[in-house]
Symmetry: C2
Subunit: 566 residues, 2 copies
C-alpha cells in the first residue's frame, strides 16, 4: 500500500492557507499514485489553536473548510485533522476522506494535559478506537498522544479483530533529541501491535513551539522504512508491505461495538504505481538539530507575524552573536540589522568584535552611543537619588536605554526586535526587564549559556571559519554596565550553574537533591531562590523557541507569589 | 450541630504560616464549642499552587504539615485541604481530622480545567463520594467544583443512603457578582439534596486571582443561615439544625461500596455550647464589591511579595487617579508615592490635577520632567530617523522614558511600580509596551474604562467629597504624547468600545454577532483586529486583578501567531 505523509507547515487560524496546502499535497499524492495521505493533527486549524477553539465562528470555519476540501480527495484516502463539535462537546478529530466523500471521523482518546498541552481545556475524550477497511485490510486511526500509550487505542484495535496498519497524525512539538525517543517508542509499538505504523508529524514554528517533522514509517519488526526530514516541509512516500489479506471478522464490524468501523470501497481512477525511490533522509547531529529548531522557530515567528526585518542589539558578546547568526539563517543577512549601543563602560573590544561579526555575517549596522541619554536620566533623577551610591538602578537604566532605542527603531521601521538573553540568565534574573529583555522574540530564551557556546563553536566548525569571531568566544562574559564588571562577579561558572539549573528547573529537584554538583549547598540554595524570585521577570518576557524538555512559558507555570523555598 | 467556617487568607507555598492559621482557627473553634471546622480547598499549599505541585519536595512538605497539624484537632472535627499523593497519582483532597486523628480523606471528583483552572494538569479525579457519620448523622464531604454540578458527588451521596449535611471546602476565585451566583447555586443544591450545605471559601489575593470569601451556610429550603463577609478574613459560626437521627443504613457502609464511609466517634472534652449570635453580614454594593476586590488583590500582591511601598506615575488622568486611591486603601497613603513626569505636551491641568489628587489622598509626590531625556533620544536617533516624520516611535519613547524613571525608582528604593492601564487600553493596545505598561502589578488590567469612571464616582460619592478631583473625571481623556492628542482620535467613545470588547473578549462572539452595538461593521472589525494584533503586548504585561468573567492572562490563552480574523 502506498502511503504519503504530508509533512506540512500550517498556520494557526489560516484556514485558507492550510486548505491550500492540503489540496496541493493531495494533487501531488494523486500524481504519485498514493493510496492514503496523512496530514498533521488539527491540520485545518493549525496547532495549537488554544482559546480560538472557544470561538464558535472558528469551529464553524474549520467545518466549512473541511467540507470544501472533501471533494479534493478523489481517487485516494486522506486523513485530515480538524475540530469536531458534537452537541456541547468538541473533539480533536481525524476525518477519513475517501474518493470525494467524508466517510467518518475518529476522535482522539488520549488528551495530553501536561507540559505545554492543555487539550482537556478544549476537548472531550473520544470513546472508541476507529479503523477502516480498505482492500481487505484493517487500518487503524490514531492521533498523536494516542500512540504514546501502548495500552491506548492501538491496543484496543488489536484486541478487536487485529490491525494490518496503524496510522497516526501528530502535532508533536520539538525538544532536543525527541525525534529519537519518538522513533524508539513507535518501533516498540509497531512490534507490540505487529503492524506497520505510519506517523505524520507537523513541521514549523508557532509562538514558543517548533514542530520538527521527522515523520515516520515503521515496519512491524521495528525497522524504519522511511523518515521525513527534520525542520523541512516535504512529502514523504513509501510503499508499505502488508500481511496477506484476511477474511473479514464480522463480529468486530458495525456501529455499536467497542470499535468504530468504516469501509472504504475500491478507489476510482487510481494512477498506475511507478516504483518509488527510498525517501532520502540524513539525520541531524545533536547541535545541528538544536540550531535548526532555533532557525525555524525564529523564521516562522517573524514571517507568520508579518515581519520582514529583524533588529538585534550587538554587545560584542556570545549571545547577541548567536542570535544574529540565527536571524541571518532564518530570513537572510540582508534582513537583519545590528545595532551597537556603546556606553562609557563598553570596552573597545566590544565594538570591534561587534563590527567584525557584522562584517562576517554581512549585515547592516547602526551605532547609537547611549552616553547622552545616561546623562539625561542622571540629571532627572539627581534629586530623587541624592546621597545614594550608584548601583543596580543605574545599570538597569543603561540596559533600558538600549531597549528603548531598539523599540524606537522597531516602531519607526517596522522591524522586530530579536532579544538575546539565554536561559541561564532568564533563570536567575541576570537580565533587565524592559532592558535587554525587551523585544518581540527571545531567540535563546530556552538555550542554556553553555549551549550558546557549543552552538557558536558548531557554527564555526561547520563553516570552516570563525563566523563568530574567536575573541567573542574566548573573552570573559560581561554585561559591561559598570567598570570591569564580569558575569562571574554575580554568578558561579556557567557549567556549574547550568548543571544546577537544569535539575532545579527541568527536573523539579528539591534542594536536598541538588547536592554533589560541584557547588556548596549555600550557593545552590541562593541559585534556587533567585530562580523563584525572578518569576515576575520571566512572566513579562517575550516568547522564545522551546528546545529543552521544560521551557519557560506555558510549559512551566509557577506562581509569582510563592513562599515555598525548596 | 455547630459549624465553624475558617475563611482564612493563606499564602501559596507558606506551609508554616498556613498551618499557623489552621491552629489559630482550631483554637478559636474549640473555645466556641464548634463541632466541625471547615478550611478552604488546598488549605496547606495555598491556592492555586500551580506547578509547585510537580515538585516532590513540595508535596512532602504538605504531608508533613498535615501530620503535624493533626493533633491540634482534639475535641473537634476539622476538614483541611491538602494534596494527597497515591502512587504516581496526586489528588486534590480534604483530610478529615477528628479528635487528634486523621480519620480519612476525600478526593475531589470534579476537576475544573477551564478558565483560570488547570486542575487536570496536576490531579487525578477521585473515584468515590465520601461521607462520615457523626452523632448518627451522615455528613458528606465535597471540594469546590464538586458542588457546582448537581449531579456530582452530592447526588451520589443522596442516592447511597441519604445525606444529613453536606460540607464543601472551596477556593473559588472572584469575578463581579459571582458570590450571588454561588449563593443561588448552593441554595438550589441544598433544596435538591434536602440537606443543609456548609460552604467555606478562601479569601485573599494570589497573583491575578482574588478570592472573595462569602462563605455560606444554607438550609434545605434554600434559605441562608449565615454568610461570611466579602474580602475579609474571619471565622463564621452557625448552629445548623439537622433532621432527626436516622437508623444507620448498614448496606451503604464499608469500604468497597460506591461511597467511602468514615465514622467519627463522640468527641472528647467538648465545651458547653453557649448560644450564638447570628453572624453579621452586610452585602456589598456592585461597585463597592469590585473596588474591594481591587484593593485586596493589590494589597496581597504587594504584601505577600514583600513590598512596603508602591509607586505610581500620575498623569492627571482617571486611571492613575483610581490606581493611586486603590494603592492608598491597600497599604496606606504613607506608603504610596506619586510621580509626576511632565513633558512639553503635558497640559498645565495635568500637573495641577495630579497635585490636587496627591493632596487629597495624602501621598508624597516627586516631579521628574522628562524633556531632557526626550532630547537625548532625539539626538541619538537623529541619524537613523533622518527624513522621517515624527509619529508613534516618538510618542512611545516618552511613555518609555516614564517607564524607565519609575523602574529606576523601583530598583533604587525597593518600591513596586503599580501600573495604571485599564482593560479597554490593553484590549486594543492603546498603551506602550515597556512604557505605561511597565511595572510589577497592573491594578486596573481587568477593569474596562467605563468602570474606571464608575469606580471613581463611587469613591467620591462614598467619601461625600471629590477625592478624585472633578476635573479628572470631566476632562476629555488624552495620552498627551503629542500636541492636542485625544483618545477619541484613535478610539471610538469608551461606552461603545467597551460594549464591543466585552462581547468579543468575554463572550467570544464572532464578527457576525457584533452588529447592532452602535458602531459600523468596519469599525467593529477594526476593533477585533486590534484586539488580536495586540496579544503580543498583553503577553508581556504585568499581572493584575481578575474582576470580570474572563480576564487577560491564564484565563484567556490566545496564540500570538494567529491568522484567524473573525
Amino acid at each position: 500500500m502506498r502511503v504519503a505523509l504530508a509533512q506540512v507547515n500550517t498556520v494557526v487560524g489560516d484556514f485558507q492557507a492550510n486548505a491550500r496546502k492540503v489540496r496541493d499535497a493531495l494533487k501531488d499524492a494523486r500524481r504519485m499514485a498514493a493510496d492514503i495521505v496523512l496530514f498533521p493533527e488539527l491540520t485545518l486549524t493549525g496547532y495549537p489553536p488554544e482559546d480560538l477553539l472557544l470561538k464558535p465562528a472558528f469551529i464553524q470555519k474549520n467545518l466549512d473548510t473541511l467540507k470544501r476540501l472533501t471533494r479534493h480527495s478523489q481517487g485516494l484516502i486522506a486523513i485530515v485533522g480538524f475540530a469536531e463539535p458534537a452537541g456541547s462537546a468538541l473533539y480533536n478529530a481525524a476525518a477519513l476522506l475517501a474518493d470525494g466523500r467524508h466517510v467518518g471521523s475518529y476522535r482522539k482518546m488520549r488528551l495530553p494535559n501536561y507540559g505545554v498541552f492543555d487539550e482537556k481545556r478544549y476537548f472531550r475524550e473520544g470513546e472508541r478506537p476507529a479503523r477502516f477497511t480498505f482492500q481487505g485490510r484493517r487500518i487503524g486511526l490514531t492521533i498523536c498522544e494516542d500512540i504514546w500509550d501502548e495500552g491506548g487505542p492501538g491496543r484496543g484495535l488489536c484486541e478487536a479483530g487485529g490491525l494490518d496498519l496503524l496510522l497516526n497524525i501528530s502535532s508533536s512539538p520539538y525538544h532536543k533529541g525527541k525525534w529519537k525517543d519518538r522513533e524508539a517508542m513507535i518501533a516498540n509499538h509497531a512490534r507490540a501491535y505487529r503492524a506497520p505504523v505510519v506517523y505524520a508529524n507537523l513541521v514549523g514554528g508557532q509562538d514558543e513551539l517548533v514542530f520538527d517533522g521527522h515523520s515516520l514509517v515503521v515496519l512491524p519488526d521495528g525497522s524504519v522504512l522511511a523518515r521525513g526530514g527534520g525542520f523541512v516541509e516535504e512529502m514523504i512516500y513509501a510503499d508499505v508491505p502488508l500481511a496477506e489479506k484476511r477474511a473479514a471478522n464480522k463480529a468486530a464490524r458495525g456501529g455499536a461495538g467497542p470499535v468504530k468501523t468504516f469501509r472504504v470501497a475500491a478507489l476510482g481512477a487510481a494512477s498506475r504505481k511507478k516504483p518509488l525511490a527510498k525517501h532520502p533522509f540524513s539525520p541531524l547531529g545533536e547541535l545541528e538539530e538544536v540550531y535548526q529548531a532555533l532557525v525555524l522557530g525564529t523564521r516562522d515567528y517573524l514571517q507568520k507575524n508579518g515581519f520582514e526585518t529583524g533588529v538585534i542589539g550587538l554587545s560584542g558578546g556570545v549571545d547577541s552573536a548567536l542570535t544574529a547568526k540565527i536571524g541571518c539563517d532564518a530570513i537572510g543577512p540582508e534582513n537583519i540589522v545590528g545595532v551597537l549601543m556603546p556606553s562609557p563602560y563598553s570596552s573597545r573590544g566590544s565594538v570591534e568584535d561587534s563590527l567584525a561579526l557584522a562584517t562576517r555575517l554581512g549585515i547592516r549596522t547602526l551605532t547609537l552611543p547611549i552616553e547622552e541619554a545616561m546623562h539625561a536620566y542622571e540629571k532627572i533623577l539627581a534629586g530623587a537619588f541624592k546621597g545614594m551610591p550608584p548601583g543596580v538602578a543605574e545599570e538597569n537604566l543603561q540596559a533600558r536605554i538600549r531597549g528603548n532605542l531598539l523599540m524606537a527603531l522597531s516602531n519607526k521601521m517596522g522591524w522586530l526586535v530579536l532579544t538575546t538573553g539565554n536561559k541561564s540568565e532568564y533563570s536567575v534574573g541576570y537580565c533587565t526587564l524592559y532592558g535587554d529583555m525587551a523585544g518581540g522574540f527571545a531567540v535563546l530564551k530556552d538555550v542554556p549559556k553553555t549551549w550558546v557556546y557549543d552552538l557558536c563553536r558548531f557554527i564555526n566548525r561547520q563553516a570552516g571559519e570563525a563566523v563568530i569571531p574567536e575573541n567573542v568566544l574566548t573573552k570573559e562574559p560581561s554585561a559591561e554596565l559598570r567598570p570591569n564588571q564580569k558575569d562571574s562577579d554575580s554568578l558561579p561558572p556557567y557549567p556549574l550553574l547550568d548543571r544546577v539549573l537544569s535539575r532545579y528547573i527541568e527536573g523539579d529537584h528539591g534542594l536536598g537533591q541538588l547536592r554533589g554538583l560541584g557547588l556548596p549547598a549555600a550557593e545552590v540554595r541562593r541559585i534556587a531562590l533567585r530562580v523563584d524570585a525572578n518569576e515576575y521577570k520571566r512572566r513579562q518576557s517575550p516568547p522564545g523557541v522551546k528546545i529543552t524538555p521544560k521551557s519557560f512559558g506555558r510549559d512551566r507555570r509557577l506562581p509569582i507569589t510563592n513562599h515555598f523555598k525548596g
